[in-house]
């Protein structure tokens, strides 16, 4: 590894960048560069290779051949947005559970009790949503 030749003083500017990964970081940077080049050239090819014509009919959004009617964004049902909100909550939860999971054996039974409290609180939240019907998408039961 070439990174071992670097003195401490030089490392100070670079510590975090190189030390945990070393050459892997170079490989990663190259990979990102290469992938971006491929994607970029595809985009450019899409722009310049095909022929283009303009006509007012072509510019219309596709609605099965009939003339587009009404606004393109009429506003959609709330459950979509609610799903997103629940996702925030539960995804944060997953992040915390994952941080516990790497160290579960160090934390032992005490850690398990803590995470169990955490998980059960959110299970209660989930069942609350369920009972309130926030997870129902179909026609509502009356």
């Amino acid at each position: 590894m070439a990174s071992e030749n670097i003195s401490t003083e030089q490392l100070a500017g670079l510590d975090a960048l190189m030390s945990p990964l070393g050459w892997d970081l170079v490989a990663f940077a190259l990979y990102v560069g290469l992938a971006c080049t491929i994607v970029g050239s595809l985009l450019l090819a899409a722009r310049f290779l095909g022929h283009r014509t303009r006509s007012p009919l072509k510019g219309q959004p596709y609605e099965c051949g009939v003339e587009p009617s009404g606004p393109a964004r009429p506003g959609y049902p709330v459950p979509f947005y609610l799903t997103a909100i629940f996702f925030v909550v539960f995804d944060v939860e997953v992040a915390f559970i994952a941080s516990w999971a790497v160290a579960y054996d160090l934390l032992g039974w005490q850690g398990l009790a803590q995470i169990a409290f955490f998980i059960i609180t959110l299970l209660i939240a989930l069942f609350y949503l369920w009972r309130r019907g926030a997870l129902d998408w179909g026609p509502q039961r009356r």
Partner: protein, 330 residues
């Protein structure tokens, strides 16, 4: 300096091989899917271009490249043009942390068969899969068309719901290997693949990645008989092709994820490790195609209910039970 140069050359070769393999595999996955589906429906599938239709992907590529690049009048031009790139880019970048073989010895040096052995590779994959939502969402939004927008919304809601189940299913794997590093996870499965150790998590994970890849039976976002083509209704030419490529690269990435996390990665008897890895990915891909040829599409409310009312609680309980079991066993 010579040493540094050699290292860089080796890295570049490795990158070229990986990208080349992934992209051509994606191209042939399209052909394979059409062929296998056709056989399942008592048809022949594409067989005109080249022997057994083997040149079909090339013909498709040329056709897509030369098609007209339509941009709807009222579309948000920049976002519309860049959205497909996000979808391909995130899928390609995900491959950077996937270990695809045992370390190799060449020129007296060890070459790790992974591009970047990130110690938090799992989180990286997870983060990228959450970024993949953007390609779909922006594509649907920028088109300013009802079908595209509704398709985009459905896709987003579905992807985020099942991403949750995905995350929950990964936790037992993390507990088994005590690490987020994918190489460590593969190493921990030398004797027994995680699929046998954590069968429930495996099941949840398989269902979740099927939904994440938006394929039948979870292809609500592009349900063609109600939404035309969903979020890419307004796309044409290579931009449409990029969504397509992104979808198939993503299929390979998800297959590799399944392989690395649950099927023992590149471990296997007799064959070289890279061979095992490829076989496992292809088996997963075949399974996906098989499911597509067999199972009908779910209804949207069933889909969301299944994710939130079954997979998420089950995943949470599974974590608790696994933790108790692992701690009790000591």
């Amino acid at each position: 300096m010579n040493d540094v140069l050699l290292t860089i050359i080796l890295i570049v070769i490795k990158l070229g091989l990986v990208l080349g393999t992934v992209l051509s595999l994606a191209a042939y996955m399209v052909l394979a899917e059409r062929k296998v589906l056709a056989r399942m429906q008592m048809r022949h599938g594409p067989n005109r271009v080249g022997p057994f239709g083997l040149l079909q992907p090339l013909a498709d590529l040329i056709k897509l490249l030369c098609k007209e690049d339509l941009i709807p009048e009222r579309a948000d031009r920049w976002v519309f043009m860049l959205a497909p790139a996000i979808s391909v880019g995130t899928a390609l970048l995900a491959f950077a942390v996937i270990p695809f073989g045992a370390p190799l010895q060449i020129f007296g040096r060890t070459i790790e068969l992974v591009i970047c052995d990130l110690n938090i590779g799992l989180l990286y994959l997870f983060a990228l899969s959450s970024l993949a939502v953007y390609g779909v969402a922006l594509g649907g939004w920028a088109s300013q068309s009802k079908f595209a927008l509704l398709g985009g919304l459905r896709a987003m809601a579905q992807m985020i719901s099942y991403e949750l189940a995905l995350g929950l299913a990964i936790v037992p794997v993390v507990m088994a290997s005590k690490s987020f590093s994918l190489t460590a996870i593969v190493a921990s499965q030398q004797s027994l693949p995680n699929a046998l150790r954590h069968p429930l998590a495996f099941l949840i994970f398989v269902i979740a990645i099927m939904a994440e890849s938006k394929r039948t039976p979870f292809d609500m976002p592009e349900a063609e008989n109600e939404l035309v083509a969903g979020y890419h209704t307004e796309y044409s030419g290579m931009r449409f092709g990029m969504f397509f490529v992104g979808e198939y690269v993503n299929l390979i990435v998800l297959g590799s994820m399944l392989t690395v996390l649950f099927l023992g990665g590149w471990h296997g008897p007799f064959l070289p490790s890279v061979g095992w890895f490829l076989i496992k990915i292809l088996a997963v891909a075949f399974f996906f195609i098989w499911v597509r040829g067999t199972v009908p599409r779910l209804r949207y409310d069933q889909l969301m209910a299944f994710g939130w009312k079954i997979l998420v609680p089950l995943g949470l309980l599974n974590i608790l039970v696994t933790a108790v079991w692992l701690l009790w066993r000591g």
